[in-house]
């Protein structure tokens, strides 16, 4: 925990050269920060549990946000398509459930059952992980690739270019990035932005 706080401070004082990339949090190329959070089944799930896999599609999301809702089925589909290829989904909810009761742990369990989540849906109760990663919206994706010292961040941003209508999607950012990684290529679009709900910080 102490280590994480030091890291947090270090990130707070790191300013990126590119204006588009946030000045706080993880950027493509950075090393992913390990976490261990409570899953909807009551068990703890950590990034280290995935050490043998090629990567992880880490998604900060929640129950109540209409964008998260719009992407629910697409997140389920991502896990279905990529878990067997070594890139499973881990979803994290960091929202303040006091302000947004729909995002409570109990409601996470209900939503995961309703939508048949086949991946962990973790509760970031202290919001430390969202802050460490620099997640600001829901959904906010961090695509991680296995590296010597843990996981490297390869893509940060949106799932695709159309939240409104899955049928009208032209660019599948996350899928394109995974395809490039699997071919041994550098991710050509490592950072995108999207409109979304803010992560609801505790006051």
């Amino acid at each position: 925990m102490k280590k994480l706080m030091i890291l947090l401070f270090a990130f707070a004082f790191t300013f990126s050269a590119q204006a588009q990339v946030p000045s706080v949090g993880l950027k493509p190329g950075d090393t992913a920060i390990p976490f261990k959070l409570k899953n909807i089944d009551g068990k703890m799930v950590g990034l280290n549990d995935y050490a043998n896999l090629r990567g992880v599609i880490l998604i900060f999301t929640c129950n109540h946000c209409p964008f998260s809702v719009a992407y629910q089925d697409r997140i389920v589909a991502l896990n279905k398509k990529y878990a067997s290829l070594g890139f499973p989904v881990i979803a994290i909810n960091s929202n303040d459930a006091e302000a947004y009761p729909e995002d409570s742990y109990d409601n996470m369990i209900i939503r995961a059952a309703e939508k048949k989540f086949t991946f962990p849906y973790l509760l970031d109760d202290t919001q430390v992980i969202a802050k460490a990663y620099g997640a600001v919206r829901t959904p906010h994706v961090y695509l991680l690739q296995h590296a010597d010292n843990g996981f490297a961040v390869r893509y940060v941003g949106a799932i695709d270019d159309n939240s409104d209508d899955p049928a009208a999607v032209k660019i599948k950012y996350v899928e394109n990035a995974i395809t490039e990684i699997m071919k041994g290529k550098v991710v050509s679009e490592p950072f995108t932005k999207a409109i979304g709900c803010t992560i609801k910080w505790k006051k």
């Binding site: 204006a19 588009q20 946030p22 209409p66 947004y100 600001v136 919206r137 941003g157 949106a158 270019d161 159309n162 939240s163 409104d164 209508d165 032209k170 950012y173 995108t192 932005k193 999207a194 409109i195 979304g196 709900c197 803010t198 992560i199």
Partner: protein, 161 residues
Amino acid sequence: MKFYLRVFLIAICFCSSKASAQQIRTIEVPDLQAILHPPHDSLYILNFWATWCAPCVAELPTFVKAEKQYKDAKFRFFFVSLDFKKDYTAKVIPFIKKHLPESTVYLLGDSNYNSWINLVNPEWQGAIPATFIVSSDPSKCKFFEGEISEKQLFDSLDTLK
């Protein structure tokens, strides 16, 4: 006759007061670019919001109040809705008619967000509410990602008056 004259005068008053008439317009990215570059000596306040965004809806009255209070200053307020197009008729337009009866409201339905967020401000990560004060003078430009308090907004506007 006197009655008609009075109605006529009231009508004139309404027409000449720039902020009193509601305007709702669907816009595209080029229209957005136009309001990012206000004419010399005026300030535009752009509030990006949506009916589905609870903190956005909560802070709208603050902006309505500011718009009234600073009516005579060289400020123009634009409320840019990022609602989903499918919600316009049933939800968004009725909401605007009720809650923003005297404001200029633009509906930006372009959901290819990555193509235009940086045009507004490279610092903006895309979370809403987001408020931008734009001016041809870069020293007067301000950006608030997330909620803005009444004090923050009014203090900012006071320093720019």
